[in-house]
Structures are given as C-alpha cells and as structure tokens.
C-alpha cells in the first residue's frame, strides 16, 4: 500500500496535541472532546492495520522508509506479528483512558490531554520502529509525558514517584544507548557502512563476550521497564501516585514496551548471550511471580495491590518469553494483551471507586455491590479475567504460557503456575472485602452506580475479554509466522538452555565413544 497508514496512526495523536495547544484552556469540554476524537480516529485507522494485515508471512508489513538525518539514521517503520496487537492495544486503550479521566481531571485539562496524546505517539512509535535510533528516540519520548502525568496530576507523593520513575528508566536506557553505539560502530567496522537498521544488525554475528555485555545493557533497560525483580521498586510508587488513566496506560502498554524490547531486540540480536544468561533471567522472572503475588496479598491499598499483581503477571510473561518456544512466546504476547486489558480494567475500576469514595484503602469498603450492582458485575468479570477463568481471555494466555514453559522446564512450569493460584487468592479476597459482606461505611450508601460514560468505556473491554477468551484464533494466527521467525533467529546456534545442556552431555558421550573406538582402531593398526 502506498498510503502511509502507519505514519498516520503514529502521528495523528501528535497532530492532535499540537492542535490542542491553540485551544483556550477554559474550554475544558472542547479540549476533552477533541482529545477523544483524535484518539478514537487513531483507533479507527489502526483497525485498517488489523484488517489488511497478512497473517501468512513473517515479513514486516506497512513498511515505510525514508531518509532522515543520514549516517544510518533513517525513518523506517513497519509492523509484524509481534507488534501488531501491541499497537492495537495502545490505540484501543487511549480513548478509554481519555474517557476515564473526563471528570476526574478538572485542573489543567489542556496540558493533561496534550501529554496523553504525545504519550500515544511515543508508545506507538516504540512498537513500530525498525531503526535503532528511531526506536531509542521514541523510547525516550514516552518518558517525558509520563513524567508530567504522574508529577502534575498524581497523588501526594507524586514528585518522589515521578523522579524515581524517570531516573530508573533513564539509567537503563542510557546504558542501552551506549550498547547501541557499540553495535553501530561494530557494524561500521565490519562492513564499512553506517547502519541502525535492525535487520542489518540481525545478520551480524558478534563475539560471545561482546554479546554478553551488550545483552546486559539492553536487558537492563528492558527489565527495568517490565519490571523484572529486583528492578521493580519504581512500579508500585508510580502506580499508586499516578492518576487513573496514567496507571492504565502505564500498566497496560508501557510495561509491554519492556517485554517487546526483549522479543524484538535483546533476544534476536544476542542469541549466544541469551543462552548463557537464560537460567538467571528465568529465575528472576520466577521470583518476580511469587514475590509480586505475595506482596499483592498483603497490600492495604487496592491500587498498589493491582500494581503488585502486575509484577507477578509480567513475571509469568517474561518466564514464558525465556522459554523460547512457539507456544510460550505466543502465549506471552497473548498474555501481554490480556494483562493490558484486565489490569487496565482493574485500574479503571479502582479509579471509579476512588472518584466516589476518595480513598483506595480496602478496609474502607465493604458491601459495595448492593449499592452498585452493575459496577459489581463489571468488577467481577475483570477480576476473573485477571485470575484466568476459562472462557475469559486470561485463561488462554496463561494456559499457553504454562504449556510452553512446561515443554522447556517442568519445574519452572510447576512453580510458575503459582501466579494463577496467587492471583486467585489476592483478587478474590480483595473482591470479597470490597464488594461483599455488610456495608461497613455509611459513605457507601451515597455511592451512585456507574454512569453511561463509565459503562461506555468498560463495555468494549469486557466484550474483548470474552472474545479473546472464546475465540483466540484470529489473534494467534497473526502471530505464528513472526514468532517462528523470531525463534529461528534466536535458535541459530543452540536450542533451549536445559535441552542444550542435555544435548551437550549426549554429544560428549557420543564423542567419547567415537574417540575410544578410534583409539581401539589405532591400537589394532599398531599391532
């Protein structure tokens, strides 16, 4: 297609942001509506990507290339099975996030909407860039709006939280930048050509020692974003202080940038290093699963409970990614979408309660479902989706992940499944304490049930949850080729770490056998 649809999807939000600069700050409803229109227009355009996406190929599609600065810095974007749904998730959730902050944000609406739209452009850009430089630019661009969203519209400890968020992320990304420089100069020395093109770098076979350092730099940056234990400490702070929509975007999409980074960059660029470090990464993910789950159990604040549940869920996704087989990685991508939907929805739900009660402490609630029956139903569905009830989306993702992990390492799979058990425990318990039982607090009697606007943004999420839970094929089939392609890249030398060890053992045994036979032959010849 000649029509630059991908660029449009990426930059329409930015255009909206620029337009909003010129709207007077007192016309709040106009500002909100404009922002919403731009977000929804982006979503509608992105549906074309889904419709015209060719599931029968691993090639990047909707590719657009153009010169930019030179020295290998080009405008090169495209989409494949790894990124298609992450882009869709972003464009899907952004209008919802804007709707959800319609009444909640009353101060400085203009700046808020501008930052939301810039954020959208940044996130989509991260998912579609195939030029390392461009990728890095978008990666950093997402940081600034999020910094303002938390810092200006956040809770009481917002300044601490937002600086922590920025400094953590910068720490990783700056080291990644150095690694990008090294890649760039290595490629230049090897070929005499300047290139930031990802596909060029895929072809490079680096020496394993160098790979190790580069992988560490990339992995640090992505692991902070995911976040992988023990680099997660910024996440609960950021989530608790962020406004609802900020939390939704942070959990649903920004964290996925980390996981996506592993899939797109860290794994295929440095396969040897991955093989070496796989056990460590898998164990860190596992610790994240269990630690996040246990921390979620003891949280008193509903929002930080959901935040820690993110740590746990992302741990499972990472564990699946590090299992390096097709079920696991498709499961991981699928689970990323599920996590985006269900955790995003849970943050929205906590936000709805907060708008009414002005507290998020679990103990302040109780028996809310009798006052807000419709809301209670939504809460139940979203909660169960996050737990992984069959028939809802979470189940498919989790089962695929676990299958995949099981294929690689049975023990890890058995331990990893605790994410489901723990999720059931903390979420059901939270639901019970907040929604059921006697009404503890008189304030609850004045709660109104969800209004039309709130229903309007919850319904699409719930529909998707059922769709993805009942009929996942359209999603999975669009990933197949790309994931296989990715695995081919990663496995170009060795296979999964556990098997590799076994293979090596087998191989040495065979070699020994051959050697002894040779020796025998030689001895016979000598005789």
């Amino acid at each position: 297609m000649n029509f630059p649809i991908l660029s449009l999807v990426t930059f329409i939000p930015l255009a909206g942001a620029i337009l909003l600069i010129f709207v007077h700050r007192d016309r709040k409803n106009l500002l909100r509506s404009l922002a919403f229109i731009f977000a929804i227009a982006t979503f509608i355009l992105s549906i074309f990507l889904y419709v015209h996406f060719d599931p029968q190929t691993a090639e990047t599609q909707f590719v657009e290339k153009g010169g930019w600065i030179g020295y290998g810095i080009n405008y090169h974007i495209g989409i494949d099975g790894l990124s298609l749904f992450l882009v869709l998730l972003t464009t899907f959730l952004m209008p919802i996030a804007i709707l959800s902050s319609w009444n909640y944000i009353q101060k400085r609406v203009k700046e808020y909407m501008i930052f939301m739209l810039i954020l959208e452009t940044g996130i989509i850009g991260v998912f579609i860039s195939f030029n390392l430089f461009l990728f890095y630019v978008f990666w950093e661009v997402t940081l600034i709006p999020m910094y303002f969203l938390i810092g200006v519209w956040g809770g009481p400890r917002r300044i601490y939280a937002t600086l922590k968020f920025v400094l953590f992320t910068m720490l990783g990304s700056l080291l990644m930048l150095v690694a990008i420089f090294v890649l760039y100069s290595t490629y230049f020395k090897a070929t005499g050509v300047y290139s930031f093109n990802l596909f060029d770098h895929y072809k490079l076979i680096l020496n394993p020692n160098l790979q190790l350092w580069l992988f560490l730099a990339f992995a640090l940056s992505f692991a902070i974003k995911v976040p992988l234990f023990p680099l997660h400490t910024w996440l609960p702070d950021a989530h608790v202080e962020a406004p609802t929509a900020g939390s939704v975007i942070l959990a649903a999409v920004l964290l996925k940038m980390g996981a996506y980074g592993f899939l797109r960059f860290a794994l295929p660029l440095f396969p040897d290093a991955v093989m070496k470090l796989l056990p460590v990464l898998a164990i860190l993910s596992l610790i994240g699963i269990i630690y996040g789950g246990l921390m979620a159990l003891i949280q008193k604040d509903a929002k930080s409970l959901v935040a820690y549940s993110s740590v746990s869920h992302m741990g499972l996704i990472m564990l699946a990614i590090f299992s390096l087989n097709i079920e696991a990685i498709e499961g991981a991508i699928y689970q990323m979408l599920n996590h985006g939907l269900s955790t995003g929805a849970l943050f929205l739900i906590v936000g709805i309660l907060y708008e009414r009660a002005h507290t998020r402490m679990i103990k302040d609630f109780g028996g809310v479902s009798s006052q807000m029956p419709v809301f209670s139903a939504f809460f139940l569905v979203c909660m169960l989706s996050s737990v992984g009830l069959p028939g809802l989306n979470g189940f498919i993702g989790e089962i695929l992940c676990i299958f995949g992990i099981f294929k690689t390492n049975k023990l890890l799979a058995i331990l990893g499944i605790s994410t489901v058990i723990l999720a059931a425990a903390y979420l059901l318990w939270m639901f019970q304490r907040m929604m059921q039982g006697p009404i503890k607090n008189e304030k609850i009697l004045s709660f109104k049930d969800v209004n039309k606007r709130e229903i309007a943004y919850l319904v699409p999420i719930v529909i998707l949850m059922f769709w993805m839970g009942i009929y996942p094929r359209p999603f999975l089939k669009r990933m197949d080729y790309s994931v296989t392609d990715l695995l081919n890249r990663v496995n170009r030398k060795e296979r999964i770490f556990v098997q590799a060890e076994e293979d090596k053992k087998a191989l040495t045994e065979v070699n020994d056998l051959i050697d002894t036979e040779k020796n025998k032959d030689q001895e016979e010849e000598v005789r």
Binding site: W68, I69, G70, Y71, R108, E111, F133, Y136, V137, E140, V141, L143, I144, Y147, F148, G151, V152, R158, I159, T162, L163, V166, L167, M170, L171, L174, L175, L177, V178, F181, V182, Y184, S185, F188, Y194
Partner: protein, 479 residues
C-alpha cells in the same frame, strides 16, 4: 583581494565598538537601546561579509590570519551568541540598573577578541585575542557597579583569569623554546619529528591546556565559574557560558585534531581524559545541591564542558561543532527564560520562585522546559543529538568506559534539570512573583532558540553538511 579586505570584518567590529562608546556620550539614558541596534547592524553587516568568504579560504601574514571554514563557522556561532545577548540585554539593563553603553561596546570588543583567536594559527596572536576577550570579560562581569556580588565576580574573574594567562604564556615560552616555532603546525611538526622529546615540550603543552582549562571552565580549573556566573549580569552570564567556552574549544580543536595524528604520546591523552571525567562528574554532582538558578546553570555548563572534552578526546571535530551549536541554542535559551522572570530591580533566581511558573506563564514555562530537557539530553531535542554524535564517535574510537561515565553523569544531570521542571509544574507557589512581560526582544530570542533546539534535534541535515565542510577544510575528516 588583499589582506586588508580579509581583515575588514574584524576592523568593522572594532570600529563599531568604538563608535558605540562615542555615541554613548551623546545619548540620553532612556535611549541607550539604540546602541544595541547599532551593534546588531554591524554584526549583521560583518556576517554578510563573512558569508561571502565561505569558499575563499584566506590565509595571510604567515598563518596569523586564517579564514578557513572552521573560523567562519565559529564566527557565526560567536556572532549569534553576541546578537542573542544584545537582544536579551536591551530591556534587562534598564530594569536592573546596568544601563551603560559600555555594555554593548565591551561585548563587541570581546567578540573581536574571539575573532582574533579563532582566525589564527599562531599561538601568540591567539594569546593576543585571548587577552582582548578576557579583559573585556572582566569588565563585563563587574558591570552591575552597585552590586557587591558583581564586583566580587569581576575581581575573582580577573585574578584567576590573569593566572590562567600566566600559565598560558609560560607554556607558550616552553613550547617555543623546544620547537622554535609559534605556529600550531610548527609545534605539531616538532612533536612529530622528534622521537626523543625533552620534557620541555609536553610540559609546555600541559600549561597551555591549563590556560585554556580556565577559559572553558573544566575541573579542576572551574572554581571561579559559579561565583562569576552568579555575580555577573544575567545576559553576560549567558554570554560567558557560550562564547569564551566555544572559542577555547575551537583552539583546542585546532591543536588536538592534528596533535593526535602526530604523536603516540599517551600522557597528554590521559591528562585530558582525567580532566574530562572529573569535569562531567564534579559539575553534575555539585549542581545537585544548588538552589540558585544561575549557579545550577553554571555547574551545568561545567558539566557540558566535560562532554565536549569527550569530543576532543575522540578527535571528533564535527561532533564538537554540532555540540557547541546545540549548546549555544539551549543554554542561551535557558538563560533567556531566567531573564524573563524578572521585574524592575529584582531578578527571580531561587528555585522557590519558580514554583507554579509553568502554569502561570505557560510559554516561558514550556520553552524553559524544552531547553532543560535538551540540556539533559532528551530526544528529540538538539541536546540529545549532540550527545549522541559525541558519544557515538567516542565509542567508535574505543573510549567505551569514558562514554559510560559520560552517560552516567548525564543521568545525574537529569535529576537537577528535572528538579527545576518539578518546581515549575508540580509545586504550589509559596510566594507570588510578578514579572515584566513587555519584552519582545527577549521573546524573539526565546523563540529563535526554541526553533534552533528543535531544528537541530529533528532535522539537522543542513547544519551537518556545513559542519562537515568546515571540518574537511581542516584536512582532518572523520565521518
């Protein structure tokens, strides 16, 4: 064409400076702005002449006057800096009771000094230019005559600056003693052709580096910077942070681009390496504790000298030029925003004053934020691309550890740059500030700097072509 014609721009600047001095006597105090316009007129005139010199490559008086593309490029940087400073100062000097015509005259003298320095390959002539620049700088720093801090700044700058000049001349003497030459190329040839160097030449070079170290404010020769920056009138601070620094680096670039190729000697390399690392770390770390905006920007400018030093170490001329260009826009822009927050007799310089500014004055807040993000090195601004070029060149030269220290230092810097943004947007104002917004010249500078920062950050293609030409003209062409 004769040598007189090549000297013409310099003569014009000196003439205009004298003219401003004479006219000053005849103008009433409230009409002193005209002097600014006259200065600007001569600057533009001079710029046009230099523009026509671009492809000529003059060289006269046995390389004492060389108008190669590098010199012209730097002239444009200096002229832009001076023009910005004049625009910033027009309102400022009447508000802050510094309304003397000497202001413009001294600025033009300083510019002529910088022009001499950049357009010569003879170290004695460079020294001459350095003194013209320095002495006008000392006077400029003390221009707020009734302000104690300003006088302190002038004295401090003068004393330390004189020492630095002493070091420079002494180093020059040693270099001459060893190599019997005063021109850069002659000295480099000496280093190249003499396998067994006596101690004299490297020590001389080291002393020259120290002399310049004061000018470009690198650690451990930075002690004067915060006090001078704080005491001097703010537009002058903006000038100090860009002009003398740029010219210092320009001369260092001229020396070291050929020096690295001429010798294998490691001691000077490691000397500069240590200076660079110290500068990046010390500048950024001390900036963390500052609460005065001018002092924060002073330490930030020290830290930036460290980053630029990386470019010298990587002998990356185009990176250095790009960095200085980007730095010109973002730093003068930041100072313009600081100057904007002032009213008659008062400047708002404490962090506390900035609480709530972002929403009260959205344009100043937004542009200042962009300049700070650029200084911190966030894409898609000029500051990011500048660091990108310098650091990637350094990695190509194998200086990975230096680059890691550099990016970690800039991580530290993110904290204090963002702290200003935190105050502007995330704190409730503790006291009301009222500022004078009728200052079109200042907003013009803000706008131009914003344009520069974004243009260089997003579409630097054109400027890169020019920079490349300037570097190739030196005969040293790294990519």
């Amino acid at each position: 064409m004769n040598s007189f014609f090549a000297l013409l721009p310099l003569l014009i600047i000196v003439f205009s400076s004298l003219l401003v001095l004479i006219l000053e006597v005849f103008l009433k105090k409230e009409n002193k702005n005209y002097l600014g316009f006259i200065s600007l007129f001569f600057l533009i005139f001079c710029g046009i002449i230099y523009f026509r010199f671009w492809n000529k490559g003059f060289s006269y008086f046995n390389q004492s006057l060389v108008l190669d593309k590098l010199a012209l490029f730097f002239f444009f940087i200096f002229a832009l800096a001076v023009a910005f400073v004049i625009l910033l100062a027009m309102k400022y000097i009447s508000l802050q009771d510094t309304n003397y015509g000497e202001f413009y005259s001294l600025l033009l003298f300083a510019l002529s000094g910088m022009m001499i320095m950049i357009s010569s390959l003879n170290l004695v002539v460079i020294f001459l230019g350095l003194e013209v620049l320095s002495i006008s700088s000392y006077a400029l720093a003390g221009l707020k005559r009734k302000d104690e801090k300003s006088s302190e700044a002038a004295i401090k700058y003068f004393l330390l600056g004189s020492f630095a000049s002493g070091f420079f001349v002494y180093g020059l003497a040693l270099l001459y003693g060893a190599s019997h030459s005063m021109s850069i190329s002659g000295i480099i040839d000496y280093f190249k052709s003499t396998p067994e160097l006596s101690l004299m030449a490297p020590v001389g070079l080291g002393l020259v580096i120290i002399g310049f170290g004061f000018k470009i404010a690198v650690v451990p020769f930075h002690m004067w910077t915060p006090d001078v920056y704080e005491g001097a009138p703010t537009p002058i601070t903006a000038f100090f942070s860009v002009g003398p620094k740029a010219v210092g680096f320009a001369v260092l670039l001229r020396i070291f681009l050929s020096y690295w190729r001429a010798t294998e000697s490691e001691s000077i390399f490691w000397l500069l390496w240590i200076i660079s690392v110290l500068t990046m770390l010390v500048g950024n770390l001390i900036a963390l504790r500052q609460t005065n905006l001018k002092r924060i920007l002073a330490y930030s400018s020290i830290a930036h000298a460290g980053y630029i030093m990386v470019a010298i170490l990587a002998s990356d001329g185009s990176g250095l030029l790009f960095y200085l260009t980007a730095y010109l826009f973002m730093n003068i822009g930041a100072f313009a925003a600081v100057i904007a927050l002032s009213k008659k007799g008062t400047e708002y310089l404490e962090l506390e004053d900035y609480a709530g500014v972002g929403f009260k004055y959205p344009w100043i807040g937004a542009t200042f934020t962009i300049f700070l993000l650029s200084l911190a090195g966030f894409p898609p601004t000029a500051g990011f691309l500048a660091k990108f070029y310098v650091f990637s060149a350094a990695v190509r030269e194998g200086l990975v550890s230096l680059v890691i220290i550099g990016v970690m230092a800039s991580l530290i810097s993110v904290f204090y740059y963002l702290r200003i943004v935190v105050y502007m947007y995330m704190r409730e104002p503790s006291r009301e500030i009222a500022i004078n917004l009728e200052n079109p010249a200042l907003f013009l500078v803000l706008f131009l700097c914003l344009y520069g920062v974004l243009q260089l950050g997003l579409f630097p293609g054109n400027i890169l072509v020019i920079i490349k030409e300037a570097i190739i003209a030196l005969g040293v062409g790294p990519g």
